[in-house]
Amino acid sequence: MENNSEKITIYVMGKKHMVPEDLTIMKAMEYSGHQFTRGAGCRGGYCGACATLYRKKGSYKLEGALACQKIVEDGMYIAQIPFSPAEKKTYILDEIKPEAATILEYYPEVSRCLACNTCTKACPQDIMVMDYVQASLRGDITQAAKLSFDCISCGLCAVRCPAEIVPYNVSQLARRLYAKYIDGPSEHVLERVKEVEEGVYDQDIKELMTASKETLAERYNTREIDLNE
């Protein structure tokens, strides 16, 4: 890989590397010889697999980022957090209600929230994590679901929480409750499902299934993307 950009210094798990200044943390790590076997996924900021903690030179602040999104800075100390240990509770959505008691039954540790806001500070998606944890504690499922909409479950909030809460699991429960009981079914999805069931897309799918690799590549490369949609 050739790169003529200015080189800066980063520290990966304490080891010094010189990397081009315009790379993301993930690319910079690969540039410096690391290979990701865990802690990398979509590389587009959607999957939440590449959670990273870092400190910048001259600052005491511990910050969170997605390695595939954050551009390296000079003197960055980096550690990957590919996984956060957490138990996701099993529940039957039809049998639970959108209320505080449900949250407390499955994730009673939300009652330990200190409102310290450390989760919000750690969130690479700029979500008001503490606010949605607090909203779920008082049974405001709508607010909890809306505030947490951009969550990709990277786990940084859970790693940093002094009350040992796993906020992203709580918000997933809140969003599921919101979708099922408060927001209601979404009409355009129902319409599309009906079309699928009626076989409207059968011919298109068949075409794709039997197309050659070259045809597929050609179609992908010339596809239309409507950015306004």
Partner: protein, 139 residues
């Protein structure tokens, strides 16, 4: 309870000064002012559940005896501040109880666990009960 019972002369031994000072620092209370009138104990609603009366706990801290940390008393105190309003020496006994609890809780000890509550209890108990229970009795 060995040193508490075997100490023939009740006074602050030099080796116990550290604990005495630590409690003063953490509670912010002038525990040495206590003259054992027992007003705190007489007003306390929880004494029947306690192994040592609150006034006795204060005496133990005056003498720097860290056996106070092993007492059941510190865990049944509800921080109702009855002792605080009764004390003629202006000591907030509830603060002393809190500092003793904190010293134990800060050593990775939890008195209660959310894991022990049934789903029914978690649904039924008001948030205020669960939150305060966790705040006071876990580290």
């Amino acid at each position: 309870m060995s040193s508490f019972r075997s100490t023939s002369v009740l006074r602050l031994h030099p080796e116990n000064k550290v604990f005495n000072e630590r409690i003063k620092e953490l509670s912010g209370e002038e525990i040495d002012l206590c003259f054992q009138c027992g007003a705190c104990s007489s007003g306390c609603p929880m004494t029947q559940e306690m192994d040592y009366l609150p006034s006795k706990i204060i005496r133990m801290t005056q003498l720097g005896l860290d056996e106070a940390l092993d007492s059941g008393t510190i865990w049944v105190c509800t921080t109702c501040f009855n002792c605080e309003v009764s004390c003629p020496r202006g000591i907030d006994v509830a603060n002393v109880m809190e500092s003793l609890r904190q010293l134990v809780l800060r050593k990775k000890y939890d008195r209660v666990s959310l894991d022990e509550l049934t789903p029914e209890e978690l649904r039924e108990l008001p948030p205020i009960a669960i939150i305060s229970n966790q705040r006071k009795l876990t580290g």
